[in-house]
């Protein structure tokens, strides 16, 4: 089977973006939305056909000796640096990119559909610009697709940055809200900072291995690592540095501690955008990146330890914070950070020799199921916010009577994320726990504990929204969302129920061979037990309005406040950037520019000026000081060099 038609998957969103972007307000809001959604639907159908053809199509070289092959569907040479160092633009088809095609197009299409209802209703609240919104959505989808199918790290980097740009535009879409704006800027700058590491890592990696190509890099990882010839820098091998720096880029996009600070703020963007970007696609880019280079990573033990520790700590940290947040989107944001950290940890503990590399498969499996149920939870949150016009839990309660569809969908999402069989999350999380126990019992118990916390805070959220008390909604009774919004909820609920039953290991595994998932009964039973206990605890505390939670918060006041303020991480960053960089460095320099260069020397210069009428007419007279600095500069340059030479 020829996969060359796969270029359509990228071209269709591009056309949509250009068309909607250029037409702008000449289209009506409704038309723009319908065009965007329809085009995305077509792109999704093509992506499905490519992926299904790859997995199930008649054997045309996809499977050789039981191993799924990596296929370059098409490529174009873009630039030749040297004979070997060539940059290409292309389409790499392998199990993980095919899986990502399905995830991205599914969620993106459903978000497009959902937005038709969600964004229309906000007409009165925000400025015109739905056309722009759909154009940006297409651009985002295009960049994300380009990222996952990239056959080389350079193309991945370009699309990686494009993902950053388009998410900047989408988060900042409500540009009339100051919070949205500062959030979009923060997201952009924090991830850009992380990408700095990524870029240096790419430069190092390509410098030594003389290739950007993923297939070349990963087909013979030992040789690729050896190209550095054992060169070391500050006690670690250069390759370990390169891979760690690349992971830094991934950690930025995937919001790993301490680069996670942008994600909770990014919740200021439109909720469907959060579902797309902050649940299913952009935030898993880091996981995808590590998975893509996994054969290299698993040879660098040190880097793998860094990944595991960062992942495990972030999982716990974010879960702790999620337990006390009061804004429902923030709870979901921290829950996302925590779940992504599960995937990262799972990759960190994966070794080819341990249980056939189960960690890798588990990570990808969880990525897949998480994308579905987390998108579901975000879209439900959107419907709830839509109904009660607030993000705060205090404005909700007892909603199960008013919003039955949403209630059931949200419950399914919670059961899935809590890891209750037979919902999707159970199977993937179970594999992650197996992988963690394989590596080290400590990590196993640690992750199981975090899984318990997950069940707790999700059910706290669920009860606070749908049970707890019955506030008086007055004449403005909340009700279920319109069909365009409910349909995606129903579809995603069904997927969240059954996705765990997919024999995922047969499609994706670290060496692309078949992997048979079999439940480890000990791990499965104990993790379900932990989850059930956590849910019962949440039920006890939050089913009916009572004072126990408040008492608990009081008892652990210090801890509770610290967690509520996200352990003051944002304040720390604020302090470093504003107090140190702006105040201590930039402001004195600006002062120097104004007062010393422009001003005080003006005074001195004016004395000299009074001698000459012509020059005095210039009044500022600071040229003298300019020339003075100039001359000193030239002399210093000479003097320092001469001294250093002698």
């Amino acid at each position: 089977m020829d996969f060359s038609y796969s270029y359509l998957v990228l071209v269709l969103p591009l056309i949509t973006f250009l068309f909607l972007g250029l037409m702008g307000t000449r289209l009506s809001r409704k038309t723009a939305g319908v065009i965007g959604t329809a085009m995305m639907g077509v792109a999704a159908v093509i992506a499905y056909s490519v992926a299904l053809e790859y997995f199930f199509g008649a054997d045309q070289g996809q499977i050789v000796d039981g191993i799924r092959q990596q296929i370059i569907a098409w490529d174009l040479t873009w630039l030749e640096f040297t004979e070997n160092l060539v940059i290409k633009v292309g389409f790499l088809l392998d199990p993980i990119s095919a899986m990502m095609l399905i995830v991205i197009t599914t969620v993106s299409f459903l978000v497009h559909l959902y937005s038709l209802g969600y964004m229309q209703d906000h007409e009165h609240k925000y400025e015109k610009g739905l056309q722009r919104y759909y154009a940006f959505l297409s651009l985002f989808t295009l960049s994300m697709l380009g990222l996952v199918v990239a056959p080389n790290i350079f193309q991945m980097y370009i699309f990686w940055e494009l993902v950053g740009v388009s998410s900047y535009l989408l988060i900042g879409f409500y540009y009339t809200l100051p919070a949205a704006v500062s959030a979009s800027k923060k997201a952009f700058i924090v991830t850009r900072f992380a990408d700095l590491g990524f870029l240096i890592g790419i430069l190092l990696l390509s410098f030594y291995t003389q290739t950007f190509d993923f297939i070349t890099l990963t087909s013979n990882p030992t040789a690729a690592i050896a190209t550095a010839g054992g060169a070391t820098f500050m006690g670690c091998s250069v390759m370990a540095w390169a891979l760690t720096l690349i992971f830094m880029g991934g950690a930025g996009k995937s919001a790993m501690f301490p680069l996670h600070i942008w994600l909770p703020d990014a919740m200021e963007g439109p909720t469907p955008v959060s579902a797309l970007i902050h649940a299913a696609t952009m935030v898993v880019a880091g996981v995808f990146l590590v998975a893509r280079l996994f054969p290299l990573y698993c040879l660098e033990e040190g880097t793998m330890t860094v990944i595991t520790v960062i992942g495990a700590f972030t999982a716990f940290y974010a879960a702790a914070v999620a337990c006390v947040q009061s804004d429902i989107k923030r709870v979901l944001a921290f829950s996302t950070i925590s779940q992504i950290a599960f995937m990262i940890t799972s990759l960190g503990v994966a070794r080819p020799e341990l249980h056939e590399g189960v960690g890798y498969m588990a990570s990808m499996f969880h990525l897949f199921t998480h994308a579905m149920f987390k998108a579901l939870l975000f879209l439900c949150a959107g419907a709830i916010i839509h109904a009660v016009h607030s993000n705060e839990m205090s404005a909700m309660g007892g909603l199960r009577k008013y919003m039955p569809i949403c209630n059931i969908a949200f419950l399914i999402g919670c059961l899935a994320i809590a890891g209750i069989p037979p919902f999707a999350g159970f199977f993937s999380k179970d594999e992650i726990l197996v992988a963690a126990f394989e590596q080290n019992t400590f990590w196993g118990i640690w992750m199981m504990l975090v899984a318990g916390m997950t069940a707790f805070y999700m059910f706290r959220l669920y009860y606070k929204i749908f049970w707890w008390n019955n506030p008086d909604y007055g004449h403005h009774t909340p009700h279920d969302a319109p069909m365009t919004m409910s349909l995606p909820l129903i579809i995603l609920s069904l997927v969240s129920i059954v996705a765990g039953l997919i024999p995922f290991g047969e499609f994706v595994s670290w060496n692309r061979a078949d992997y048979h998932i079999h439940l480890n009964m000990t791990v499965a039973v104990s993790s379900v037990a932990v989850a059930v206990v956590a849910i019962l605890l949440a039920t006890k505390l939050y089913l009916k309005e009572n004072s126990a939670p408040a008492k608990m918060a009081n008892a652990f006041k210090g801890l509770w406040t610290a967690a509520y303020h996200r352990f003051y991480m944002d304040e720390l960053y604020q302090f470093i950037t504003h107090k140190i960089i702006f105040e201590r460095v930039s402001r004195p320099l600006a002062w120097f520019d104004r007062q010393i260069v422009d001003g005080s020397l003006n005074g001195l210069a004016n004395i000299a000026n009074s001698a000459s009428y012509a020059i005095r007419k210039l009044q500022s007279g600071s040229i003298q000081s300019y020339v003075y600095v100039y001359l000193i500069g030239a002399l210093l340059l000479a003097a320092v060099t001469v001294i250093c030479l002698i």
Partner: protein, 489 residues
Amino acid sequence: MDYSQFLSMPQEIGLVAVFLLVFLYDTFMSKKVQNALPVFTCVVFGLFTIANVFFCEESCSIFGGMFENTQATVAIKAILNIGMLIVLIQSVKWANSEYMTVRRGEFYELLLITLFGMYFMISARHFLMFVIGLETASLPLAALIAFEKNRYESHEAAAKYMFTAIFSSAIFMMGLSFVYALSGSLYFSDIAAMIFGESSTLLIVALAFVIAGVGFKLSLVPFHLWTADVYQGAPTPVTGYLSVISKGAAAFGFMVILVQVFGSVYTVAWKWMMYALIVLTIILGNLFAIRQRNMKRFLAFSSVSQAGYIMLGVVAANEMGLASLMYYVLVYVLSNLAAFGVIGAIENKTGKVMMSDYDGLRSTNPWLSFAMMLAMFSLAGIPPFAGFFSKFFIFAGALSTGDVALYVLVLIALLNTIISLYYYLLVVKAMFINKPGENGAIETFKSACSERLAMIVCVLGIMLVGIVSCIYTYLVDAAETSSALFNIF
């Protein structure tokens, strides 16, 4: 003397022809068709720019080796021509304003003369030729900066520029006299041969003075102090011209001098001198830029730090560095002129140049804000815009030397791109996000046809130059024909 040598310099002859046509049109055409002068200049110069494609690209050395054309000089001149053409188109509206009508002929003539001087800076292989080019490029600029002579800032800026230019020339010439004392020649190749293996104090001082002299044109810290005042005071089209064309020509000439004449003291002396200047230039330029609120001053400091990035190509001192330098100049020309185009259009219409005046611009002038946003993204080096590729290539060029010191330099430069992203985003934030001030946002207006044309060219360039890979490949080929330059390494 063999006069047929003149035929080997078709670009210079073409430029003189353009100049003469404009001059004759200005002098002899009747009042009625005088108003068409700006358009006439654009058309003639545009034809000349296109004709450039067909000029011979064989390397030649003429006038006893004083003047040399290679594929690289042809390429950089073509890049400058593109920039010049954009400046000319941008200035049509301004040149047709009531106040300018009497003197606009001079504006175009002076502009063309400075470009002619820059051609000589690029092709000179003898210091006398280089100095003539440098002065021809500098002095008319002072007149251009003072062009809006009833605006106080304009002639203040001109006086400052003039004074600093003369001072820097004096220093430069002093450096040259030391060089002459050491080698007894002013030919680049002779000097290189004579000072080979030498590293005396006199040579270092001469080198420092030469660097300071050209550093003025490039506004490298600490030779940059004139930049902000002059950029702010000069008429906007002239500022645009100063910031890109003048800088691009100087960067190329600078690289030729450092590599060809002083190549033998690369590792002992000038690598470290340039190293220090680059670090200072990028960091100070960025830090000063953060707090600027006048758009022209803001871009002045931004261009200071951009010059630091361009110098990374010089420090690489190999073919890839040269190619990346030319590529960077091309991208920088397009991005910076897009920004100046927007500033000029707004200034012509409303006279506003403060960043706070741009608050809420998106709601009233979406296309101008879009062009400005792309320019800022490109200057900040965000893919897939051209600015990313130019930064990538210039970093790759510096890394290709395999020198650990340069790795550190690239790291410093990379860190600074994050700082620069912050202040470039300030402009984007003002336009797209800030609420309009008390007087409301700048009202919706239709910019002149010429301004729009120039902006479209720039925006297309920003979006496409990075993606069309053959441009870089062509420049690498061109740089390789100049490999004689790098012989001394």
